[in-house]
């Protein structure tokens, strides 16, 4: 099993946000986690990556059998856990190529492989850029600075393509994208998911699921996964809205 989340409780400051989340993800699977705003789905994504603003109060997180509570954020990343940010951060003066090469080489070092020099890396990244249909001019630009919303999201998927993570958690990567960008980003995700890795898509809307086919769909409300199913669940949600799940929950 790649990821095992058991009865996870998390709070930010004094406020409890996750109230007993259970989730299992195996290699080769695509999971979608859906839910209304404030349901805790983005928090779950950040907690997996080890964001310092959140405190795990009980429950457990295991990644490839390792207890994540014992790994720092950067160690989790080097172990192959990737988070595509909902709001990618700007880094003035640091070129995209430089940033990604550093990240890539850190991952390679952790895998016991040789680092790539700038020329070797340039070949590698140019080839990966085709996956997300990005112009090589973005290599010399500062990370995310003056990128449009769509370019930032595409840049996140490019980093995923470069780093080839074992588990990619995509936090609302689809939000704010027009239909063409959405298609490109979805295409990138599809071409990167394979038998040895897994993708967890955190999303508010069903529409990205027209392009990325999930094996499982989970619905989160109020800090818990309240319903799980297959692709059909997403379609039902689109039709009936989140209230439908909540009401059903209340009735049950």
């Amino acid at each position: 099993m790649l990821l095992e989340v058991k009865d996870l409780h998390v709070r930010a400051g004094d406020e409890p946000i996750l109230k007993g989340v259970n989730l299992e993800v195996n290699a080769g699977e695509v999971h979608a986690i859906m839910g209304p705003n404030g349901s805790g789905k983005s928090t779950l994504a950040k907690v997996l990556a080890g964001h310092p603003a959140y405190e795990v109060t009980s429950g457990s997180l295991h990644f490839e059998g390792d207890d994540l509570s014992e790994l720092d954020t950067d160690e989790r990343a080097r172990a192959g856990l990737f988070l595509a940010f909902q709001y990618p951060v700007e880094i003035p003066g640091v070129s995209n190529a430089q940033f990604m090469r550093q990240a890539y080489n850190e991952r390679r070092k952790a895998q016991g492989k040789d680092e790539l020099d700038p020329l070797q890396f340039d070949d590698h990244i140019r080839e990966r850029m085709k996956i997300v249909d990005m112009d090589p001019k973005f290599l010399d630009r500062s990370v995310n600075v003056d990128f449009s919303g769509g370019e930032k999201k595409r840049n996140e998927i490019l980093q995923m393509a470069v780093l080839e993570p074992t588990l990619a958690v995509l936090d609302e990567t689809d939000s704010g994208l027009d239909i063409d960008a959405l298609r490109t980003v979805a295409g990138g995700i599809n071409s990167l998911s394979g038998e040895d890795n897994a993708v967890v898509l955190v999303t508010h809307y069903q529409r990205i699921l027209d392009y990325v086919k999930p094996d499982y769909v989970h619905v989160m409300t109020d800090g818990q996964i309240v319903k799980s199913g297959d692709k059909q669940l997403a379609i039902d949600l689109e039709e009936h809205g989140y209230d439908w799940v909540t009401e059903e929950q209340g009735a049950a």
């Binding site: 954020t73 990343a77 951060v89 003035p92 003066g93 640091v94 991952r107 980093q159 780093l163």
Partner: protein
């Protein structure tokens, strides 16, 4: 996270050792006799003694300025030693007679002076406390017609050039510390590039304060004749003492028609310990005049040291189409205080100036940018662009910007941009999530922030500057 960052910042000051060199020093204190004695030791011509005495008379009427955004215990001028020189006087053409302890000092600092170890393509003038102890590559420079020597030597060999230009850019009446320097300056570097000559190598002066109670008052004069070019570098370090030493230098640059001077500084004076004890008071007056049409003066500085810095490298743009540039990175940590910036005075037509200032504050330090852009009535079509960016590390430090703009010509254009940022949790999380550890993240963020300035530094200096900022900031971001 912030404690890691602080550890990262708290790297020991590597240049903080003291060298055991036999020195000839005056008793502390200053009066007319002190000045006559300095002048007599150097066997100076009358014009210079007169210059010193006038400056001293003027200085006595002045008060130490307090407009800068810094607070410190004012130095007691009676406790300062105004002259201190190594006992064995070096011969000018050979290093054989320089005290080996001095050679060793420079070598330890990474500035070897011996022929076989010298840095390629960089001529070095080494100033130890009050005097210049060695200048390398003099012969090669002389063949190109470039004069590079200590000010003392210049006074002896080229008195007419010195008399013509000394005090012409920074008059002794200019300010309190310039007046003091004019009265007691002991040595410094002198550069003269004749008409049409491009200096075949970078020139550099390396200042070292060694004696505990010595003030360093050096004076640098660079004159570039028509159509000539020189790139000059300046480095500074001092031992770790728990008292404060005063460094009050004056630098004057003169660029005639079509001439260009590029002046770069990496300042790493001892900054005091983490409680703010000790360190250098760096009160320096640097100014260049673009005297001729189409001339250019460019200041680049990386300021990482000193307990208190008070420094405004400036350009007087007299010649039409002349260009002034100021690129600055000022880093303060712990209790350091820096009030630094520039003045661009546009006099000629179509003069152009660029100011790029990057301030980084950490610890409980205070970092101020203070700049004046002045467009005189004759400055038709003059333009200025200023960009002042501040970065805060932690939440106990301060960044301040004081831009002054004075425009007296309606066709002149002045543009000012400012920003303040913080290395935030989000930025750090982004790096960490990509597998890049905290130290590398800080150093990448800072290098990125300073990129426009580092870009202006000569190669060797850029590497050194990056390293220096890395060392100074280790452990400080959170």
């Amino acid at each position: 996270m912030s404690s890691n960052i602080e550890n990262f910042l708290d790297q020991p000051y590597e240049a903080g050792f003291t060298s055991d060199v036999e020195m000839d020093s005056f008793e502390p204190g200053i009066d007319e006799e002190t000045i006559r004695k300095i002048s007599a030791i150097k066997d100076e011509p009358q014009f210079l003694l007169d210059f010193r005495l006038k400056a001293f008379e003027h200085w006595k009427t002045m008060e130490e300025p307090d407009w800068a955004n810094v607070s410190y215990d004012k130095p007691n001028f009676d406790d300062i030693i105004y002259y201190s020189a190594p006992k064995e006087k070096p011969k000018k053409d050979s290093l054989d007679e320089v005290d080996p302890a001095i050679l060793e000092t420079y070598e330890k600092l990474g500035i070897p002076l011996q022929e076989q170890k010298m840095l390629q393509n960089v001529a070095v003038d080494a100033v130890f406390d009050s005097v210049s102890v060695a200048t390398t590559f003099k012969k090669q420079l002389a063949e190109a017609g470039v004069i590079f020597c200590s000010v003392n030597e210049a006074v002896e060999e080229y008195p007419e050039i010195v008399e013509k230009y000394l005090g012409s850019v920074v008059p002794y009446t200019d300010n309190f510390y310039a007046a003091l320097n004019s009265a007691v300056f002991s040595d410094g570097s002198f550069v003269y590039v004749p008409k049409g000559v491009t200096s075949p190598m970078e020139l550099s002066t390396y200042f070292r304060i060694n004696t505990q109670d010595t003030g360093q008052f050096e004076r640098t004069l660079i004159v570039c004749e028509e159509g000539s070019y020189v790139s000059y570098l300046e480095g500074c370090t001092a031992p770790q003492f728990d008292t404060n030493q005063l460094h009050a230098a004056v630098v004057e640059l003169v660029a005639l028609e079509d001439a260009e001077i590029k002046y770069s500084t990496v300042q790493n004076w001892y900054a005091g310990d983490e409680d703010g004890k000790g360190g250098i008071y760096n009160f320096v007056t640097k100014r260049g005049v673009c005297e001729g049409d189409n001339s250019k003066i460019s200041w680049t500085q990386v300021e990482t040291g000193s307990a208190v810095t008070w420094k405004y490298p400036s350009c007087i743009l007299k010649g039409d189409n002349s260009v002034g540039e100021f690129y600055s990175v000022a880093l303060t940590n712990h209790h350091q205080q820096a009030d630094t910036g520039t003045k661009m005075v546009h006099i000629g037509e179509n003069t152009k100036s660029t100011i790029i200032s990057k301030g980084i504050s950490a610890g409980v330090s205070q970092n101020s940018y203070r700049g004046l852009v002045k467009m005189m009535p004759g400055a038709e079509g003059a333009r200025n662009y200023s960009e002042c960016d501040s970065m805060l590390i932690g939440d106990r430090c301060g960044a301040h910007t004081f831009p002054y703009i004075d425009v007296r010509n309606p066709s002149a254009q002045v543009e000012h941009e400012a920003s303040t940022s913080r290395i935030g949790e989000d930025q750090m999380f982004y790096f960490l999530q990509r597998g890049i550890d905290e130290e590398d993240a800080i150093s990448m963020i800072i290098s990125g922030f300073c990129k426009d300035v580092f870009h202006e530094l000569p190669m060797e200096f850029a590497v050194e500057a990056r390293k220096l900022l890395g060392i100074k900031l280790e452990g400080s971001v959170g």
